[in-house]
């Protein structure tokens, strides 16, 4: 019974915690941005704009229903897994200890720095490092076969809604949690070690100010059918919702493009940048004709395991063949 309470609490919390993506006011902000975009930019009128935003074909598609289910099931799984995951504080403590053994570093060596400066640098540094690490991990999720088998779950969505962020395989969730723990640990430990107790976080409603800004300016529209595009120059710096929708496109030209989360700079630097296109013309997903089972919970949760098993088996056979050939050559 307790676990049920905790589960309902966790689900409810997602909507009322300003640190979470689907905090009710972020959803509301995204709605307003979408509405103004359609009304003023696309000149759709009130009724048509609202009709487009709340299109039941999107929100009640098989794909979206799969998102909702996986959201609930993942909450249960993460509730059970998270106590076993290493915390950011444990990693931070190890880093903090390690810094003591580096001879050219001294604890509190910049402790005299003005607190407000330290706080601004800390807040920005964490947001940038967090975003960069998201880019790197995301890139690996696409490039490595085993990781792609997991990440495919997310890309199998054929319609996008804000809830698609939760369409994530739990093993991928573990990787994301570790990524987040490591980036937090690096930032916290290094700043506290160098600057002492003057380190603080600039927050709005308890969330990192940059996280707040990212969310209030429509982060939820990244996973949606509203293809908001930025000016070209801005799309080199920040990723527009339409750019992320391109990332979900089935077209070959769009493969392995726009891995970034908030900043487009990483894609630009590492050669995976792609400007936005008309979202309405994109086909989303990973295969042209998704079959009946694409969005069922069983295939979403278990297909990755089958695929990983196949990949490993293939590699093992290749390895065996390689060694056998070598032996034969030696004998000859």
């Amino acid at each position: 019974m307790n676990i049920l309470y905790e589960l309902f609490g966790d689900i409810f919390y997602q909507f009322i915690d300003p640190k979470k993506r689907i905090f009710i006011f972020y959803l509301l902000a995204s709605f307003l941005i979408a509405f103004f975009w359609l009304f003023f930019n696309k000149k759709l009128g009130v009724k048509k704009s609202l009709g487009k935003i709340f299109n039941p074909k999107i929100f009640f598609s098989k794909s979206s229903k799969g998102d909702y289910k996986i959201f609930i099931v993942n909450q249960v799984i993460m509730l059970l897994i998270s106590p076993a995951l290493i915390t950011q504080l444990t990693i931070a403590t190890l880093f903090f200890y390690h810094f003591h053994s580096i001879s050219w570093l001294n604890a509190g060596m910049f402790a005299g720095t003005t607190a407000i400066i330290v706080t601004v640098i800390f807040t920005s540094f964490h947001f940038i490092l967090d975003d960069l690490s998201k880019y790197v991990v995301h890139r690996f999720m696409h490039k490595w076969h085993i990781l792609w088998a997991l990440h495919k779950v997310h890309h199998s969505a054929t319609t996008l809604t804000p809830m698609t962020v939760f369409r994530t395989h739990p093993l991928e969730g573990v990787l994301f949690s570790l990524r987040s723990a490591f980036t937090q640990a690096i930032t916290i430990s290094s700043f506290v070690f160098l600057f002492g107790s003057s380190v603080d976080l600039v927050t709005v409603l308890g969330a990192n100010i940059f996280v707040f800004l990212f969310n209030i300016f429509g982060s939820n529209l990244r996973h949606s059918h509203i293809g908001i595009r930025y000016w070209k120059w801005l799309e080199y710096i920040l990723i527009s919702p339409a750019q992320h929708q391109v990332h979900h496109s089935i077209s070959k030209d769009h493969h392995d493009k726009n891995f970034g989360s908030a900043f487009a700079i990483w894609d630009w630097i590492f050669g995976s940048h792609h400007h936005s296109e008309d979202t309405d013309k994109l086909i989303l997903g990973i295969e042209k004709n998704p079959n009946e089972t694409t969005h069922t919970l069983i295939s979403l949760y278990f297909n990755p395991f089958v695929e990983i098993y196949k990949i490993i088996s293939k590699k093992t056979i290749k390895l065996k063949n390689y060694f056998q050939k070598k032996n034969i050559l030696r004998r000859v």
Binding site: Q88, T93, Y97, H154, F176, I188, V192
Partner: protein, 456 residues
Amino acid sequence: MKKILILIVALFVTISFTQSSFAGDHDVYGPWPVTVKGYSGDKTDSTSYSGQIARHALHDSLKSLSSKGDLVEMMAYFDGSDKNKAIIAPASKDDFLFKQTLMNDLSKGKNLSGKTYKGIINGWPGGMTGPEVLEFMIKKAADSPKGYDVATGYNYPQLISKFAMGAIFYNQAVDNYLDEKLAADNKPNGKPYKDGAAYTGKEHVWDEAFGYWGAAAHALTLSAEDNYNVAKKKDFYAADYNKDGVVDLKKEYTFAHAYYASSFDKGGKTNYLETITHAFLDGRKLISNANGENLTDDQRTKLFAYADVIATNWEKVIAEAVFKYAGEVYEDMIKLETDPSDKNVATYAKHWGEAKGFALALQCGKNNLGETSVKLNRMMGHGPVLMNSSQVVGVDSMGNYVKDQSLEWDDYKLHMLKIQKLMIDRFDIQARSHDQLADMTDLAAKLGSSDSAEND
């Protein structure tokens, strides 16, 4: 009508008096009724722990003397004296007046050396027993100006006081009175403690343990802050429970570890003073209620449960102190890196002395701490790492310190952090004063949980 009114008022007065006396019974340690069978004396209160209070006064006085260089005088308080010595500390200050000024006002013929833990003290060089370590420290203190030896970094008033509190009060209470003396055949409740005494065996055993704890009898009627201010001689009103204009050291003052408990509790994260004092009260009530009969197995099981609460929390109080001073040592070391003034070095030595004293004290409980002791002693070392990269590593046959190349300064700093972690891991302490990782904990909380199954 008038009669009825008088009757109602009388009834209210009676009820309110009854209630207040219940409250008194509940919250104050003593007076307890005399339950000894066949007692023929005229005493009506069986409470008795004046010997323990005398030892608190001996300890406080010894601490005060250990910065004055008079070996004979120090030994008089450590070994006891035939003379009726003055209570040097605690002494009256301004309007904070004490009832007693001489040792014999508390109890005659008491000493500290006879009650010091007799086992080997592994954390101190020389392989000495508890009393030997204290005597050794006292002699070294007499040779050091103001009890502070610059060459080794030893601050003897701190070392002596913090170690003595553990080796005497803590050890006597948890390893003797609340341990083997609670056995059925040891000081039974069915007999007076000694012939003609107004208290039974178990009543006195329990009282003596309470005396060593050091809380004022009315500690539970006060907040942690009040108890702390009583020890600091800052709140006479809170101390003078019976309102006779003086503070009775036997009942109304906060000593030793009870004081440290109050210092941690006033931060609001812990409740050591109340928890321990409450367990003492509950245990004493149980013994009094046995009415001079031998305790049943069931009663003794309950008593052991109270004793366990006391011992566990008392150990935590000392572990909190180790944690706090290890944190202060770490902070002092950072300060010294940019300002190695004599004053800062002295502060470092003072805090190190407190950390070391409490660390030695922690190992005087009833349980062998095993690996925790080994780690704690190894990380803290025999002496503080000094600015010239030297450290005491032992004592030669003549009782002189042997110094050698020390650990790296940065490694030693790290040891202080690891000692803090060790105290958390082993004793689950919560007050965590001067927590060097607190800033990281706060920031981690602000950034929020790192668990997320979300695809940006």
